[in-house]
């Protein structure tokens, strides 16, 4: 890259805070550079660093007038938009602590986190968030004010707890006129080892735990990541994943403030994919489901296109896969393969990458859950530099990462600088770095369990291979013991199966059982289209999932995958579930990880059926919708055996 010399590392001392660094950057770029863009009313609207600075200043001073003090908590909920980041930065400037909630959190979760975090202010996007606040305010007496910013539908609200961000900014502006030095004075009071974020982890088992992160841990994490993969102020990044996910904080805050790249906010969550294509970001970090969806989109479009296009795609992918394989095995690529790959790029890969929004991508990361090797190979075949990341909220984001020339799709790479990763005798992955968190808020026992002698205990099982790469097996408690006594990671099976475009979610069962089985959630859109093309009629997800032809389709997909597996790990029986797994039903966490203990209990009839001789499992259950409606479901699920 030509701008290699423009990357300057920032010295991070114990005195430096995120707002202090942010202030430096704002003064440096001022009105000469765009800090962020938001697509609104159909066009991209730029916001310079000067505007960013002024908006944060107004909000921060306004918050102070609402009674916000140092170390108070500010809870935030809503989609990704500039106002959200301004409020987070404003809270940090005051010396307060940011707490993020997932925008689709149900009322109980919101109440728990607002109450547990002792939040004094809450910031929400619009009517939906305001409604949530009004429902819980009597049960959360520590909450003093709620700030909102989208006026749509707000005309009839007059509860005194509510105040619009516009109003807050007006108050802040007046304070600034009276006391011009106040804002920057507040920033200068901050210290690097103070807490800046209280981050609730979604937890696959228990109640959410609040991880305390300091300015120092956030900044060092960003710096150490950028020592491996430098980002530049000419780069573009699209911020569309929940701010309540540490990965988004790590890019937008930890790295964004240090590198000074431009953040881009999509118009609506539904337009994110389209907006990413318009921007063509240089850096991207997303959980596997985003990449899985991209692959699925390509596969579906492929099935739908003409014969010539399909053939061109097949040929180009064959070339791409071969070249990627050579790269993975670190073999030199012969010149004729290079030429062929270039032709494949011109003919197919280039267009495909453009459609996926990856035309300018330099680094793209996946993390937060396991990703199947097939997905991984797919992106490398297209020439996209997709890398694994491994980390936790508790280490301010990431600790392990692939290097550009050293990618192995079954590993997550090597530790970033200043980070040590070890395996305990029990096989648990532990790590140590300057970015390790302070502990869990108001949970000393949990803290003591997770943080021992400065080592962060992850709860993941893994090992370090001969190349020094970390291999993450699975959550320790999820590792299965198969019938032949060997250990097996269910998420491996699951991520392999998810490469099929027809399968959206999988739950593999087999711990201490005579054989392995699985519960499949079909992809409604793709399987629905498949059925329509074959004139198979259906009216709903439950009906479609039980059609014999669909069972046959899924069976073929499983047989294909079974071929590569050791006999004991092969799936013998499966069931198509009558619904998709959903975070609202507690089956997934908000970051879409399967909560095994929960589904095992909820679907114990299905598990029983899979390990008996029955052909049919009778289900009599209820589904709760987001608005509280409960629907009763009575259905029969077919059990299908997979020939071995």
């Amino acid at each position: 890259m030509s701008h290699g010399d423009s990357w300057q590392e920032i010295e991070i001392t114990k005195d430096l805070t995120i707002p202090k660094l942010w202030l430096q950057m704002a003064k440096k770029y001022w009105d000469k550079k765009v800090a962020m863009r938001e697509k609104e009313y159909g066009i991209w609207i730029p916001i310079t660093w000067k505007q960013y600075y002024e908006n944060v200043k107004r909000i921060a001073l306004g918050m102070v007038s609402l009674g916000l003090e140092r170390e108070d908590k500010v809870a935030m909920i809503g989609d990704n938009r500039p106002e959200a980041l301004w409020c987070e930065m404003a809270a940090m400037c005051v010396g307060a602590v940011g707490v993020w909630l997932f925008q689709d959190s149900l009322i109980d979760e919101v109440q728990y986190i607002i109450d547990h975090s002792d939040a004094k202010l809450m910031v929400g996007e619009g009517q939906e968030e305001v409604d949530k606040c009004l429902m819980i305010k009597d049960k959360c007496p520590k909450l003093k004010k709620m700030l909102w910013d989208d006026p749509k539908g707000m005309r009839a609200y007059d509860d005194p707890i509510l105040i619009s961000i516009k109003e807050v900014m007006k108050i802040g502006e007046e304070i600034d006129k009276k006391e011009p030095g106040l804002f920057e004075g507040m920033i200068s009071k901050g210290k690097g080892d103070e807490v800046c974020l209280l981050f609730y982890t979604s937890g696959t088992t228990a109640l959410p735990k609040g991880a305390l992160l300091t300015h120092y841990s956030m900044l060092t994490m960003g710096r150490n990541l950028m020592r491996v993969d430098p980002y530049f102020d000419t780069d573009d990044f699209v911020s569309y994943l929940p701010f309540a996910w540490i990965g988004e904080q790590m890019m937008s805050i930890s790295c964004g403030i240090q590198a000074g790249f431009t953040l881009n906010f999509p118009e609506e969550p539904e337009t994110a994919q389209e907006n990413i294509r318009e921007i063509g970001p240089h850096v991207m970090f997303a959980p596997p489901r985003i990449y899985e969806q991209m692959v699925r989109n390509v596969q579906v479009k492929y099935l739908d296109s003409t014969w010539t296009k399909r053939k061109a795609y097949e040929l180009a992918m064959k070339i791409g896969y071969h070249v990627a394989e050579l790269k993975f095995s670190k073999k030199p690529i012969p010149w004729h393969w290079k030429l062929l790959n270039y032709l494949a790029y011109l003919g197919v890969h280039k267009k495909l990458r453009d459609h996926l929004g990856l035309s300018r991508i330099r680094y793209t990361y996946t993390g937060g859950a396991a990703m199947g090797p097939d997905h991984f190979r797919f992106f490398h075949a297209l020439g996209v530099n997709l890398k694994q990341i491994y980390g936790q909220t508790e280490i301010a984001g990431i600790s392990v990462l692939h290097r550009d020339d050293d990618i192995k799709f079954d590993t997550v790479g090597r530790p970033i600088p200043e980070t040590e990763v070890k395996i305990t005798p029990e096989g648990e992955i532990i790590s140590k770095s300057p970015s390790v968190f302070m502990g869990y808020y108001k949970m000393p026992e949990e803290t003591a369990k997770t943080l021992r002698d400065g080592w962060l205990h992850s709860g993941d099982t893994g090992f370090i291979d001969t190349d020094g790469h970390l291999v993450v097996f699975d959550r320790t408690k999820d590792v299965m013991t198969l019938s032949d006594g060997s250990k097996f990671a269910p998420q491996y099976l699951e991520s392999r199966l998810k490469f099929s475009p027809y399968i959206k979610d999988v739950w593999a069962i087999g711990d201490n059982r005579p054989y392995v089985t699985s519960v499949i959630c079909i992809d409604y859109g793709v399987v629905g289209k498949w059925a329509e093309d074959r004139n198979i009629a259906y009216t709903s997800y439950p009906e479609l999932s039980q059609i014999p032809d669909v069972y046959e389709l899924i069976k073929r997909e499983i047989i294909k995958m079974n071929r590569d597996l050791p006999p004991a790990a092969r799936i013998r029986k499966f069931v198509n579930l009558y619904k998709e797994f959903d975070a609202d039903d507690d089956e997934l966490t908000r970051t879409r990880k399967l909560r095994r203990a929960f589904v095992e209990n909820r679907y114990k009839d299905i598990v029983e059926g899979l390990y008996s001789d029955t052909q049919n499992i009778h289900m009599d259950t209820t589904i709760t919708y987001e608005d509280g409606r409960v629907v009763h479901i009575k259905t029969d699920l077919r059990v299908m055996e997979v020939p071995q």
């Binding site: 009313y41 159909g42 749509k152 539908g153 005309r155 009839a156 609506e268 539904e270």
Partner: protein
């Protein structure tokens, strides 16, 4: 919007017959500025015929219609549109091959001032005008109806519920003073009904719009929830008019919905 006492639309003794079939038999009513006025009645009661008379698709044999004090009985539909009367259709009447944005733009056509020639050159005033109108469409319509994600999609490819929304968007593009909504909720699923109801309330109440709505609808739950006043028709005759509770308790209305009395109170929720 607060309902005012100003009469915006006045319909006087309308008679409309198709051959031997009497669709409307001397119906009269008044709609106040700022209100949501609903017309209910069993199938074939003459509700849609009434809307067609108001916007000029049909010309009644007898009776007069006044809009903001001016008689419009003899005006053509486009002339009524110029006065600020807009409508949606029960069966979607969009240009299926055009994009959502183009459909909405067409609804705004009436406000374009520049002529054919300057349009062909597309310079200065015309270009400015287009930007202004696009700005209006984006800010006031696309944002309000939450259709950003389909702005450039071809209408015919969209699911029914979204097409209904586009139909409403196009009607709004006229910047109407009064909007006639013909069964905007028909065929929608529960979530879509909730969304559409919210939009109707927004159009009526948001400061930016404050548009009078005449609503023909079968979903009694919604009608009774959001209407200021309701008129019931049966076989072309007005049988009742009043506030939602008055209509719900009117024995004639209950009788007209023979055996369907429950429907007046129970919605699909």
């Amino acid at each position: 919007m607060a309902v005012t006492n100003e009469i915006q639309l006045k319909v006087e003794n309308i008679h409309m017959a198709f051959g031997g079939v009497q669709a409307l038999l001397g119906v009269s009513f008044e709609v106040k500025k700022g209100e949501i006025f609903s017309i209910i009645g069993p199938n074939g009661a003459g509700k849609t015929v009434m809307l067609n008379c108001i916007n000029g698709l049909y010309h009644p044999q007898k009776g007069r219609i006044f809009f903001e004090g001016k008689e419009i009985t003899k005006l053509k539909p486009y002339q009524r549109a110029q006065l600020g009367i807009s409508r949606t259709f029960q069966k979607i009447e969009l240009f299926k091959g055009a994009t959502v944005l183009d459909n909405i733009r067409l609804g705004r056509h009436i406000h374009l001032k520049s002529g054919l020639l300057s349009g062909a050159i597309y310079f200065g005033k015309t270009a400015r005008e287009e930007v202004e109108h696009r700005d209006f469409i984006e800010r006031e319509i696309i944002d309000l109806l939450e259709i950003e994600h389909i702005r450039d999609k071809v209408v015919g490819m969209l699911p029914y519920g979204l097409q209904k929304r586009v139909e409403l968007a196009r009607a709004l593009a006229l910047s109407p003073k009064i909007i006639l909504l013909d069964e905007p909720l028909a065929g929608l699923n529960l979530e879509e009904v909730e969304d559409m109801t919210r939009f109707i309330l927004d159009i009526n109440e948001e400061e930016r719009w404050q548009t009078t709505c005449v609503l023909v609808e079968h979903d009694m739950g919604v009608v009774m929830d959001i209407s200021h006043r309701v008129m019931a028709l049966n076989f072309g005759e007005k049988i009742a008019e009043g506030t939602p509770p008055e209509i719900q308790n009117n024995p004639q209305v209950i009788k007209a919905y023979l055996g369907e009395a429950e429907e007046l109170y129970v919605t699909r929720r």
